[in-house]
Symmetry: C2
Subunit: 405 residues, 2 copies
């Protein structure tokens, strides 16, 4: 019997307890031993739970139990998750987490502590929910140099875009529907401002390129400025708007990394990913494009990824998995101004001035305004040109990157 402690009994935590109970037989067959939930840490009361006798409000019950070698952290947030995880790893206990905020902020430090204490720190569920991505990236694609990773990493914003595209809803109505359906939090900032997607691209970039990338190093733009009009004009130009997290190595070996809305050609496989689904494209130098698709959130999908990590820890109680990256100071990240992109611009009026600054653009008249699909420029140059337009009295209604995936 392998005793496990679960810290947090919210959506994901209760899902983990459920899978460990309902899939006991299958997990036993895989490990050769039984997983046993010994402690569940939560400040709330769950008197009616069939596991009621396992609950504790005191972390010391877990850290002091030398039998417990595998601890699951599914509380979310930095405090007290960070302290608890750190103390578990320092005590040589392996930790499994779904906490993307924690991994994006403290991953390098916690991986180092895990290494020094011969413990595992695994977090498959932190990116893409139930979609296998971190393990395939580090194991199956190990014979590749990764050139680029780009993905739809946030299901809530993808759901909102879907409602705008397919049901003609405007942004506020689509957001409200997402909240009513439980996809978006009452405070939706982390989703719609791109912070959630940013944490995930940080984790993917750190793993793929070996050095920690912190959210502060990433140019991040949310979806709040995208209007229903933009969605429609994009559609008529054969594009779909998606919130994309993207990291790629440029010619100088630096990482170009960003989170922002992008127009994707309808030929791009990511443009077909609808609803709350996530899709992550990895471009390897040997494999070419590989895409992983599935539910990026939700109780059981996320919990199933946590349980897969628990199984891995249980099989490797004496050995460490080689999932690792070193700390980084952002010096391997290129300035977002240096990235090269074409733009979708929507300006009020006839667009004459915009066409002077962005010659050879594809032009479409749009209800008294003008839409331009520009040639490619340095992003810094694009910002300068847009400032110049504004200085010249041109109203710039939208400016969205064209994805080149």
């Amino acid at each position: 019997m392998i005793p496990v402690a679960i810290m947090g009994h919210g959506t994901v935590g209760s899902g983990v307890a459920e899978i460990l109970t309902t899939h006991k037989h299958k997990l036993f067959k895989s490990i050769g031993e039984e997983l046993y939930i010994k402690h569940i840490l939560d400040l709330r009361e769950f008197p009616d739970s069939p596991l009621a006798d396992r609950f504790t409000k005191d972390f010391e019950d877990i850290i002091n139990d030398i039998e417990v070698r595998v601890v699951v952290e599914v509380m979310g947030g930095i405090n007290p998750a960070y302290d608890f995880v750190k103390r578990c790893l320092l005590a040589g206990k392996s930790v499994v987490t779904s906490n993307k905020e924690l991994v994006a902020k403290c991953g390098a430090e916690l991986l180092q502590i895990a290494k020094e204490n011969n413990a595992n720190f695994l977090f498959e569920a932190s990116v893409g929910g139930g979609i296998p991505i971190l393990r395939p990236l580090s194991q199956c694609l190990v014979a590749n140099e990764v050139d680029e990773i780009a993905g739809i990493l946030n299901g809530t914003t993808n759901f909102i875009f879907g409602k705008m595209i397919n049901d003609n809803m405007d942004f506020d109505d689509a957001l409200k529907l997402a909240q009513d359906l439980g996809y978006a939090e009452r405070n939706p900032e982390a989703d719609i401002e791109g912070h959630d997607a940013c944490r995930k691209i940080c984790i993917l970039a750190s793993l793929a390129f070996g050095k920690h990338i912190y959210p502060d190093n990433v140019y991040t733009e949310g979806i709040t400025k995208v209007t229903l009009d933009d969605v429609k004009y994009a559609d008529s130009l054969n594009y779909v708007i998606k919130l994309i997290g993207d990291v790629k190595k440029n010619d100088e070996g630096k990482l170009e990394i960003c989170v922002c809305p992008m127009l994707l050609s309808k030929d791009c496989i990511l443009s077909d990913i609808d609803d709350v689904f996530n899709g992550i494209m990895v471009k390897g130098d040997c494999t070419g494009d590989v895409v992983f698709y599935g539910k990026g959130a939700g109780k059981l999908p996320t919990a199933s990824a946590v349980v897969a990590d628990i199984v891995d820890c249980a099989k490797h109680l004496k050995a460490r998995k080689r999932i690792f990256w070193v700390d980084g100071d952002g010096s391997n990240v290129a300035s977002y101004k240096d990235s090269i992109t074409a733009m979708y611009l929507r300006v009020a009026g006839d667009g004459e001035k915009a066409l002077e600054l962005f010659p050879d653009s594809e032009v479409m008249k749009a209800d008294g305004n003008t839409v331009l699909i520009t040639q490619e420029y340095r992003f810094g140059e694009i910002e300068d040109k847009i400032s110049a337009l504004k200085d010249a009295g041109v109203k710039v209604l939208s400016a969205i990157r064209i994805g080149n995936l």
Copy 2:
């Protein structure tokens, strides 16, 4: 240094040698030791190869070299691959192969021999080429009961359908183009008759459900009867025709497994998979639908999956990976006649008789013929009805399953 032997220096074998050479540094970082190509077995001469001094024509050089603990089999076919692999495993050497024919025919036996000799037998490259699928299925999705696996498993046939759909080519011209481009063999039978896809769905089913499924147990239908007209009519009804390998558990716990052309709704994510790409959908009870997409064949994609397995073997020289299934006698496979499906039928004339036998079908007139999308029936019943139609003098031009994925 970990010495490796490669049996076969064709497309995949030379790709493996290339990646082991060009990605030496990255592989070293992952394993902590260097992989070294000690022997390459091939009956042909490669005097100009930079590895010319490693070539041998004699398998005994490999089997008798006690330093070699990891052997790669990329010769293809059953003979002599089967004998060589078996002898390696009996000698306690781990074997990595891309040989789907070998795994589909002898997987259970070879896995058992590997187990008894504390060796690994890994074959990620045998399904989906460079797409990570077997490892994610057995590790990342371990907390799921698999309900169904369905996939576009053969890039050649998918390329042919793509040319028919997008470029209006008929089957023969599309096949010839595939041959000219090197996607299809001069003898294309294994691809177009579905045997290649059948081997792959056998491997996936064996791994997901734990008992070996042999190709003989699988209802297999190729794509040679699908005409350009069918592709066009399907398109106008909002379907796309794909060659699908499919396995699912029915209500009696038996496996319904088949390889055949299917009409997929354009809403199905697999319908978007074009060109030589493969896509494999796994339906887990916790994750819901997860899809893996990428290049299912080709030198470097396939070789990169082989190298990932080599790395896994190198990291587990003393331990066995738990990839395993037991032998099977087909008793867990349901009769294909018992599967339930709707059908696309194309009959000559006004379709009156067909509509009597398949009432409540969706009907479309098609250049003097009639297309029916029927309700769902047992496949055996459909066969009987089609026989009855023929007996009544009705010319049945096409009969294709409607996929329900």
